[in-house]
């Protein structure tokens, strides 16, 4: 049995992975972000790296000296909370607001957030669906991306391509679920390991 603290697929190791843009370079992405006045949507289904990219852009803004704030919307949260409204109201006009899970807001919730953030320099959000903001990037995954991440996490440990391919298909490209399944696979004895 591999102990949780030694499991290469432990959550903190997944968190430490760098976002890897697919089909676009980081420089191109940042140039687009600037050109669009720091407004845009990161779109894609679950497990495609949207939140990771949002955090990377947030860090990048801070490194550039750009004021920035971040909100995370909870599951089924249709409106911005009072505390979140106060947080946004306290941001300076030249700040960029980063919102994770924009799809949670209903139409009124979005309309209010849009009104509150008009004075800000920028608004970037992740969403499962297109709309509300122009699409900055559609996050995609691929089997080769999964292979690359697994190789990085394990230091090139032996995982057959067939196994990763089956995982990728089973979880329909949700790389986060694939990596969590690999955590379980690593944590149990080989002889009792079932399908991931």
């Amino acid at each position: 049995m591999v102990l949780p603290r030694n499991n290469p697929f432990a959550a903190e190791r997944l968190d430490a992975l760098e976002f890897r843009p697919q089909g676009v370079s980081w420089e191109e992405l940042v140039a687009r972000f600037r050109q669009w006045n720091y407004r845009g949507l990161i779109v894609g289904p679950e497990g495609r790296g949207k939140t990771k990219l949002l955090r990377r852009l947030y860090d990048w803004c801070r490194e550039q000296g750009q004021p920035a704030g971040a909100l995370r919307l909870a599951f089924a949260q249709r409106r911005i909370t009072k505390q979140q409204r106060a947080f946004v109201a306290d941001l300076p006009d030249d700040a960029v607001l980063f919102v994770d899970s924009l799809e949670q807001l209903d139409w009124i919730g979005w309309w209010r957030l849009r009104g509150m953030t008009r004075r800000l320099q920028g608004l970037v959000a992740t969403s499962h669906w297109r709309g509300r903001l122009p699409v900055l990037l559609e996050c995609r995954t691929s089997l080769s991306l999964l292979e690359e991440l697994v190789a990085e996490l394990t230091g090139g440990d032996n995982h057959s391509q067939d196994m990763l391919s089956q995982l990728f298909d089973k979880h329909r490209g949700d790389v986060r679920r694939c990596l969590r399944a690999l955590y379980d696979w690593k944590s149990v004895d080989k002889e009792t390991a079932g399908n991931c």
Partner: protein, 122 residues
């Protein structure tokens, strides 16, 4: 730059509730606001990582070269342990402030200094 932190008897495994003496030594390249020793617990594993500071001690505006000692009463728990989903682990840190850069030393806090391994529930 050099930062060192260790227990006086160089052990890294301790009994819960044990009192230990920590020794810190440093050679800094430039002045810092402070040096802080911390005892940290954290989880590792499948879920979101949780981290907490169980104890800390600060030396304000330390000289560029120095050494200090401090007494630490370790908590009674939680024990260092691993199940199938998470490990709870402990570490000691010596951090420069405000940069939050420094060194850390993993330690075990559990009966007989042995990490508790929880076997699978049948």
């Amino acid at each position: 730059m050099k930062l060192e932190l260790h227990s006086a008897d160089a052990r890294t495994a301790f009994e819960p509730g044990e009192e230990i003496l920590l020794l810190a030594a440093w050679e800094l390249d430039s002045p810092v606001d402070g040096l802080e020793v911390r005892l940290i617990w954290f989880t590792q594993g499948k879920g979101t990582q949780d981290v907490g500071v169980a104890w800390k001690h600060r030396w304000e505006r330390p000289p560029l070269v120095g050494n200090e000692s401090v007494q630490l009463l370790l908590p009674d728990g939680p024990y260092s342990f691993s199940g199938s989903l998470i490990s709870v682990s402990w570490r000691l840190e010596l951090m420069m402030l405000p940069a939050e850069k420094g060194v850390h030393m993993p330690i075990t806090i559990a009966p007989e200094g042995q990490e508790v391994l929880l076997s699978k529930i049948e």
